[in-house]
Amino acid sequence: MAKYLLLKHYRGAPAAVNDVPMDQWTPEEISAHVQYMNDFAARLEGSGEFVDGQALAPEGTFVRYDGEGRPPVTDGPFAETKDLIAGWMVIDVDSYERAIELAGELSAAPGAGGKPIHEWLEVRPFLTEPPTITE
């Protein structure tokens, strides 16, 4: 009964074990990877633990308020951004251990050579509503 964000990075996470850029995989390996991700999400739907999953385009724009009556300032995209989020999955599970277990499975998605990527995923708990009983 707690929600976690499983965060996938384009950049900024420690290097994966099977660290080959996707554009150097074979088309079949890409298909197998996509299939694995879809199956994983379907399995979580089946177990009643799925909340949301989204992928993000690698390039974005920074936006900033520039004062009353003026258009917002935009900048970027920055090639050197340290941290780049690729996408996420939100799960609703009974325990932190379960969240870690699922992130581990997601990290085993196949990559180059059909072998698991062993990609680093970040697991972040959601801040919840406060409990009713505190004292």
């Binding site: 739907e45 089946g46 009643g48 799925f50 004292e135």
Partner: protein
């Protein structure tokens, strides 16, 4: 239309179907269909006997569903000897349902979902909205839960403690949405208390009522937390408090103390104090001692340290705190509070900031950040 009445009939209608030989999962689906039908039909055409109406419609739905399956599943024998309704044993049925939906083979989230649907009569959509997950996810969670308990005998007596844990979760982790889960938890616990005579069921009901009584004062209009000491006590719901206290006293008189009665006793002592300054902290410490004996929970010992700090001064509170594990949730928040009361504002500010960093919910984090900011601003002056 009286939706509360409709929902309160859910467990006994489901019980009738199961007693007539329907399997739990199919019966539960049929009752959901009947509830939906009732919401549609009753406003224009209210039945004279609501429960009878629901049983008839649900049973028809069950038969239709079974017939549709019959060729494959060979259920004709069941249809042929359609049993006459026996004497209504609604109370036992209700109790059996609580046990089934809180069965130890279920995970907490499954037990909560199944209880809200099969006992509470909520729709899957309402439960999904309450827990902020997609409806399809909640539907799967419920159908898996039903499969998990499909082999459990309906009339098998269970452990009341497992049911109480589920109801406590519904109450304590009430999220947003259209359904008031705290009120729903109270309704379900009240219904359970009517079905079984057990001091801990009474204790939990009292605990819920006493906390619910303060609900309107727990948050400011902007959503920020208002600590107990700063709540406007004139706005506490005195009817709810009186009922909680009465239920608690009757339970305590039976001399079978349990953790919910002890927690309720602490809540009652807070409710009883006309101002925060008049709180009987000495008695509250004694109840925390009882609670620690009953549960051996580190969280209880942490709360006890706060109470000791109020009863015997912040130094005594800090001494009680020193024996506890620093990694406990809210440890830093408690330490910050006691250090501030002890006059050490620098340490308190640092600990409030640390506590905010570790807070598990947004309202608490904001509250703790404000405490740190308040002390830092004061020190700069």
């Amino acid at each position: 239309m009286d939706e509360a009445l409709l929902r309160s009939l859910t467990p006994s209608v489901l019980g009738v179907l199961v007693r007539r030989g329907a399997d739990f999962a199919a019966a539960e689906d049929a009752v959901q269909d009947a509830l939906v039908e009732a919401v549609r039909v009753w406003p224009a055409d209210p039945p004279r006997d609501p429960k009878g109406w629901l049983v008839t419609v649900a049973w028809r739905r069950f038969i239709d569903a079974t017939r549709a399956d019959a060729a494959r599943r060979r259920r004709e024998d069941l249809l042929d000897e359609e049993p006459t309704p026996g004497p209504a044993v609604a109370v036992d049925d209700t109790l059996a349902l609580y046990f089934l939906c809180a069965h130890p083979s279920l995970t907490p989230s499954s037990a909560v979902a199944l209880t809200l649907r099969a006992v509470g009569g909520l729709t899957t959509r309402q439960i999904a909205q309450a827990y902020l997950v997609p409806e399809a996810t909640m539907a799967q969670r419920i159908s898996r839960a039903k499969r998990t308990v499909s082999g459990v005998r309906f009339d098998q007596p269970g452990d009341v403690a497992t049911v109480l844990r589920v109801l406590y979760l519904v109450f304590n982790e009430g999220y947003s949405g259209d359904v008031d889960l705290a009120a729903e938890a109270i309704r379900l616990t009240r219904q359970l208390a009517a079905a079984i005579d057990h001091p801990e069921v009474a204790g939990l009901l009292a605990l819920m009522l006493l906390h619910h009584a303060r609900r309107a004062t727990r948050t400011a209009p902007d959503g920020s937390l208002v600590p107990l000491a700063e709540q406007d006590r004139s706005r506490w719901d005195t009817t709810s408090i009186a009922e909680g206290v009465e239920i608690l006293q009757a339970a305590l008189a039976r001399d079978r103390l349990g953790e919910f009665q002890a927690q309720a006793a602490i809540a009652a002592l807070h409710a009883d104090a006309p101002t925060a300054g008049e709180t009987d902290w000495v008695q509250i410490v004694e109840w925390y001692d009882e609670l620690a004996r009953l549960t051996d929970s580190p969280v209880v010992r942490l709360n006890r340290a706060v109470a000791v700090g109020e009863a015997d001064g912040p130094r005594a509170g800090l001494a009680a705190l020193a024996a506890l594990d620093k990694s406990l949730p809210r440890y830093a928040a408690v330490a910050a509070y006691l250090h501030e009361r002890d006059g050490d504002q620098a340490t308190a500010a640092r600990l409030y900031a640390e506590a905010a960093h570790k807070a598990a919910n947004l309202a608490e984090r904001d509250h703790l950040t404000r405490q740190a900011a308040r002390l830092n601003a004061h020190r700069r002056r």
